[in-house]
């Protein structure tokens, strides 16, 4: 794709944040708080896309790293008065170390087994958070966490918090794009195509996978930290299996093999589920919770059946097909081993 398109795509992405913010309050369900959570989820999901789409590792324990970030921030700031930004970095270091350890242990297995090993890791951490009360506050959780502050700038309002989160999402996507479009990214795609050949070309497969797994965990840690500082209270239930599944849903619906999968998935899912939540009572009187659950499940199944590349992946694929058909696309998009496209930029 030529550079004006590429630039337009990025500009559109950057502007999507302020545009969403302008909609907040206009659309009944789109509160500013929901936008903050949307951005936080998107950020964690970008990391999951890297882990799953590019390192090819199914993770059902992403919330564990989210928890590490949140608890590092919560404990260090509320308990020891550490400045939030330092706590955030500490959370990243801890999550990175944990991810490296898990990755080294877990990459001996693959496929379903890997998914289950990450799931087990997430559950072990979840139960431990509830058990070791003196450190974590136990099931009752931990409050009194200060708002995020960088120097004298404080994210006291939702608007500030959202813009900060969105900036981090943009930055996160940029970093992910850089990695995908680098030696490591090529090495991982090569590994997907032929592990033996990649090894014989000097690709250290394990190191590349561990590296991406750690990077993906860092996204989750930052997201967790943002969550802790936004809500100012953390408790284990926020970081359980359901959260991991939520990240997985967002990333998969968005498109695992696209660095845009996180934000696209988060926006689409929130809009879709909330809009259907608004719409159901128009048809069924007094419909609440249970209907939402059912609709959410159905939407998930249908989206997965219709777009098995995810939405961002599907768009990129369609764009590429169009480009090929017209013969006007000089630089074809790369694809990974399973034939799913690895777009370098999204179609505007």
């Amino acid at each position: 794709m030529s550079w004006p398109w590429r630039l337009a795509g990025w500009a559109l992405f950057v502007l999507a944040g302020p545009a969403l913010l302008a909609l907040a309050g206009q659309v009944p369900f789109l509160t500013s708080g929901r936008l903050v959570f949307l951005a936080i989820t998107a950020l964690a999901a970008v990391g999951l896309c890297l882990i799953m789409g590019f390192a090819g590792q199914v993770s059902l324990g992403h919330a564990a790293f989210y928890a590490v970030g949140a608890y590092a921030s919560g404990i260090l700031t509320a308990g020891y008065g550490v400045p939030p930004i330092v706590a955030l970095l500490a959370g990243m270091v801890l999550a990175g170390a944990a991810a490296a350890g898990v990755a080294r242990a877990v990459f001996r297995v693959s496929g379903h087994f890997l998914a289950m090993a990450t799931l087990a890791f997430g559950l072990i951490l979840y139960y431990s958070l509830g058990h070791f009360r003196t450190v974590t506050g136990g099931n009752a959780g931990r409050g009194g966490i200060p708002k995020l502050a960088i120097g004298s700038w404080e994210a006291t309002t939702d608007t500030r918090m959202f813009l900060l989160c969105w900036a981090l999402v943009v930055l996160g996507v940029l970093v992910a794009r850089n990695v995908v479009d680098s030696r490591t990214g090529r090495a991982l795609r090569a590994t997907g195509a032929s592990e033996v050949a990649a090894g014989c070309c000097g690709v250290n497969v394990v190191r590349a996978k561990v590296g991406v797994f750690v990077l993906g965990a860092l996204y989750a840690a930052v997201a967790g930290s943002l969550y802790a500082h936004y809500v100012t209270y953390i408790a284990p239930e926020e970081f359980g299996l359901l959260k991991s599944i939520q990240f997985l849903v967002v990333a998969t619906v968005g498109g695992l093999t696209s660095v845009w999968g996180g934000p696209v998935g988060a926006v689409v899912l929130v809009l879709l589920t909330e809009a259907s939540r608004e719409a159901i009572p128009l048809f069924v009187e007094g419909a609440t919770g249970p209907y939402e659950l059912t609709i959410y499940g159905l939407v998930l199944v249908v989206v997965l059946l219709l777009f098995n590349r995810g939405i961002a992946g599907g768009i990129a694929h369609a764009w590429r097909a169009r480009g090929r058909g017209g013969g006007g696309d000089p630089e074809p998009l790369a694809e990974d081993a399973t034939g799913r496209p690895v777009p370098r930029e999204v179609a505007p």
């Binding site: 970093v175 490591t184 990214g185 070309c201």
Partner: protein, 252 residues
């Protein structure tokens, strides 16, 4: 000077001994051919050399270092590159990206410099790209650099594999039947290219005549054991070889 030395290299699969007590030594010049009847253990020997399979016993020494049991990527970084009998291209990636994977073998910049686009990353990328483009030009692949590797005709795909191996800047090139499935003209082109490269090469080949013409030295493997070792002329005259291999072929 010795480039590669194996001592008592052995590989057993269950009850079958695919490579049996193989001890060879390669200097750092010229083209050596490894020949033998089907199932003689040539490809297994290759896999043992470059670390794809761990040996049951014996050692491999490459450029003065014991690399026995080392993973392939470490041996590759030391300077051993290979191609595959059944092509192992990264089919969906472009030809240039295929070659750049090889060209990245010696780069040290990791995920961090890539993520942050540090100057290190830029210079790395530039170096890898320049080297790749040079190799592509040299092998006449410049025009197809941006096409997905799997879109190319078979002969060109063979050449892309060779380019990818060369891009790692090898000290030793292992070619596993590089002419398999090629027409006579294409095979001659590849032979010419291999000659021109000038990197020490160990080549497994089925076309006995091509090999004899191309090689400086010939190793003959039979039932996993080294049967003969010498110049093409010496090997051709060796009665054991004639009986085990050439003779059989002649009869066929």
């Amino acid at each position: 000077m010795t480039l590669l030395r194996t001592v008592g290299l052995t590989k057993r699969f269950g009850g079958v001994t695919a490579v049996d007590d193989l001890s060879i030594e390669l200097g750092d010049v010229g083209i050596t051919a490894l020949i033998g009847p089907n199932g003689a253990g040539k490809t297994t020997a290759f896999n043992l050399l470059c670390g794809v399979l761990p040996p049951s016993s014996g050692t491999v020494e490459f450029r003065g270092r014991d690399v026995t049991g080392q993973p392939p990527h470490r041996i590759a970084v030391l300077g051993m590159a290979r191609t595959f009998q059944n092509l192992e291209l990264f089919g969906d990636m472009s030809v240039r990206d295929n070659v750049m994977v090889g060209a990245g073998a010696h780069l040290r910049g990791g995920i961090v410099s890539a993520a942050l686009r540090l100057p290190r990353h830029r210079s790395d990328e530039r170096a890898a790209r320049e080297r790749s483009d040079a190799v592509l030009e040299r092998l006449g692949l410049g025009d197809v650099a941006d096409r997905p590797a799997s879109d190319l005709p078979y002969g060109l795909q063979r050449r892309v594999e060779l380019a990818r191996a060369l891009a790692t800047d090898p000290a030793l090139l292992l070619l596993d039947e590089p002419m398999a499935g090629l027409s006579g003209g294409e095979a001659a082109e590849v032979a010419g290219a291999v000659r021109a490269i000038g990197v020490p090469t160990l080549i497994v080949e089925h076309h006995v005549e091509t090999v004899m013409a191309l090689s400086d030295r010939v190793l003959v493997l039979n039932f996993g054991r080294l049967l003969a070792d010498g110049t093409p002329a010496e090997v051709r005259a060796d009665p054991a070889v004639v009986e085990a291999y050439l003779g059989a072929e002649d009869a066929a």
